[in-house]
Amino acid sequence: MSNLKYRVALILALVVASVWALFPRTVVERVKRDGSFVYDTVRRVPLKRGLDLQGGMHLALEVDESKQAVADKSDALDRALKVVRTRIDEFGVSEPVVQKVGSDRIIVELPGVDDEARAEAVVQQSAFLQFQITDETQALDKVLPRLDQIIKDKGTAGAAVAGDSTKRTEVPAIPNLFSKDTTAAGDSTRKDSSNAAIPPTTGGPFSRLIQGGQFPGEYMVAEKDVAAVETYLAMPEIQGALPPGKVLRWSSDTLTLGQQFYRPIYVVDARPIITGEYLQDAKPNSSPIEGTVVEFELNNEGGRRFRSETGKHVGDYMAIILDDKVVGRPPVIQSAIGTRGQITMGGRDLQAAQDLALVLRAGSLPVPLKIAEVRSIGASLGQDSISKGTLAMVIAVGLVIAIMIGYYRFSGTLAVAALLLYLLFTMAILAGFGAVLTLPGLAGLVLTVGIAVDANVLIFERIREELDRGKTVRTAIDEGFKHAWSAILDTSVTTILGGAVLYQYGTGPVKGFAVTLIAGISASLFSAVFVTRTFYMIWQSRTRNVQTLSI
């Protein structure tokens, strides 16, 4: 009798613990309100929903070795992980996940993010910042004829830009260094081209694609020719012929001049006067004159270097280069700059400035990363999946209840009560382990409802057999449990072992599946065997001298 008391107490304690584990609790977290994130207290059910059930974005990042091999990938990723985490935290998502998986991948999960491109940019930007002085010496103009010659010799000129040249090349006039008029540049060259489809004899295949800009080192390439110029620049021969000590950098923006789109390209000194490692802080700001800007601040050492370098280059133009792309248009250096400066965003919105400030603050990635996998699921789809999954669950439970009660009558009712407890326990275990409920997990759960009654079926069939042999109800129940136990144990252990293997070696959904499986089997062992047994004990203690058992 005392034994029974303890059993009931244990079951009740577990039920209470499970209910408590699943009870919504008040937590402070970042939630989305009217499109922006704010900290707020919300009530949350502890069982988290996976991305596929609530919508959001999943990224897998790998080291990008296309440009150079990385010796110790794992270590590089560890360092990259910190940077990515800092950026994501600032990105403002509730409960993001940033973790390293294995030795060569970082997983980023952003619930509720719908702007994929932006998230990818923030995560992937190396954020390597350099300040480089634009070329003063017309170095590119000097080598243009040679470049044209190289391309002619290769005979690829026609292929890349066949009949597409309606522009006449101008030998760039010495641009006015103090010009403030940004629309004058390149405009004149376009107007007098008058669609004369005569390929100018002076313009070689390369030089006719590229026109002088407003100041030394700035050139303009029509948007439609960008691909061709990139192809040329990638040729090793061309690379070899470029002026030494100079590099070419594309702008990250497109300029509109009249009806035409141009992409500026800059010739800059290869040696940066300073890099982003000295950066201390960066803040977005907007001013009526320059539009949005990012104000940055350098540390003391950086400030010293910057002052002496910029002091040498007063009157020159300084390109601000992020990830090998020139941000904005290079400003002219008016006087030596100390620890503070700003990057004008060239007419892009505050959001872009915020993101740039964010990646600058978080620091640069030690290695370039590439995106190996992207999944994004709309919130509506997640909602849809939950409602459908829940419906399937309710129907499955209903069917199983009907079958069990229809076939086993009273004992079936006990099994059904145990089944409901099983569901409660399983959910509680999942919540307790901080497992995330995904759609496959939900499917697994629905499936285990069908399988969970197996232990009860085994026991009941055994009891029936014992009753058939003419045993008393009490003995039959005892024997039934005893005999069924070995089969139940064996099946459970093999399932748990299998689940453990999957958990160890599986990835993503398979892992979630394994967790659900193990939680389900453990819960069903307890509820089908221990709980049902206790129910029988209670029933036997209430009704003395039972002669029949409804089973």
């Binding site: 992207v374 709309g378 499917a443 005999h483 299998g498």
Partner: protein, 345 residues
């Protein structure tokens, strides 16, 4: 009180040859279609590529949609997904050696661009995109196979420890048979193999293993009762004794699976189909495959004389061997049950 299949005396093992032929034919059709129609219909998780799930405001003309998508992603698969407003687009990267995920993502953007031009930004919503590099896919594939092998190994070791190695081997081999049959089914019905389907296959292995274990557990128990009867009769009796349980459990599992199949929506449908089919495979294999395999192993490696002497009939062989020289199984001398009819040919 309802009782199903109570005290049945079916001679299940007698049918092993028909069962073997049926299952071998099915597997052969499955594997044959590999040769004819090429590989498995892997989801982009495994092949790498891009998937987009779109919902349109108005039902689009499929031909137009195809023409639009073909501009940027020639050869993309377009499938209606549930209603005539929802479509999935798949652009696979099969055979792409280089890791060109950037272009994979690019494809998703390009598709969105051309669709916006065609249907307007309001005309459709992108409900889901997935872009996976081929490297991730090949790793996943390897991982799934390794997981399956490990699960089999662990099961084998445990069963060898709990029963004896003959039972373990029979159970694992019959599970291997389940994998083959399920693959054949997936191939024949052109079900898309995603990670979730792999999960279904693994669940199914566990399920089928359980079924076999429960029968073997009975066999073990009946063997302990020291009846002087051939193993074939013990097996038949064990299957009959566990029959009510099998039928009932399979019914509840099938009910749950059917609920998934009908109500859980399009995403889980492949999973549900595989599981639905799997319940039948598991039932079949635990009776017609695991049993005969156990007999075959027993005949090849008989127990030592100290064990109970079983006059194991030679009627059972591995399905791969085609020689048919069955002897009549000895009649059970201990007249505990009704006599089994010998397998007549």
């Amino acid at each position: 009180m309802i009782r199903i299949f109570h005290n049945t005396r079916y001679d299940f093992i007698k049918w092993w040859r028909h069962a073997a032929i049926a299952t071998v034919v099915f597997i052969a059709i499955g594997l044959g279609s590999f040769i004819v129609t090429g590989g498995v219909n892997y989801s982009i998780e495994f092949t790498g590529g891009t998937l987009m799930q779109l919902e349109f405001k108005q039902p689009p003309d499929v031909a137009e949609l195809r023409a639009t998508v073909d501009k940027v992603a020639p050869g993309a698969e377009i499938q209606q997904f549930g209603t005539n407003l929802e479509y999935t687009l798949r652009a696979r990267l099969e055979g792409a050696g280089s890791d060109n995920t950037s272009t994979t993502e690019g494809i998703a953007r390009k598709i969105q661009q051309v669709l916006t031009e065609k249907y307007g930004a309001e005309g459709f919503t992108v409900k889901r995109t997935e872009a996976v590099g081929p490297k991730v896919g090949s790793e996943l594939r390897r991982g799934a196979i390794v997981a399956m092998l490990l699960v089999s190994l662990v099961t084998l070791v445990y069963l060898a420890f709990r029963f004896e190695w003959r039972f373990g081997a029979a159970a694992v081999l019959s599970t291997a048979h389940d994998v083959l049959v399920t693959f054949a089914f997936i191939k024949i019905f052109h079900i898309e193999v995603s990670l979730v389907v792999v999960g279904a296959i693994l669940t199914l292995l566990g399920y089928s293993g359980n079924d076999t274990i429960i029968i073997f557990d009975r066999v073990r128990e009946d063997l302990r009762k020291a009846r002087k009867e051939p193993l074939i009769d013990t097996l038949n009796r064990a299957i009959n004794e566990t029959l009510p349980r099998s039928i009932l459990t399979h019914t509840t599992t099938l009910s749950a699976t059917a609920a998934l199949l009908i109500f859980a929506g399009e995403v889980l449908r492949p999973f549900a189909w595989v599981m639905f089919f799997g319940v039948f495979v598991a039932t079949f294999s635990s009776i017609y495959v695991a049993g005969p395999l156990l007999l075959y192993i027993e005949r090849k490696f008989p127990r030592s004389v100290t064990d109970k002497a079983h006059a194991v009939p030679a009627a059972v062989k591995a399905e791969s061997k085609g020689e048919n020289t069955p002897e009549r199984p000895a009649r059970p001398s201990g007249a505990s049950r009704g006599t089994q009819r010998p397998a007549t040919r």
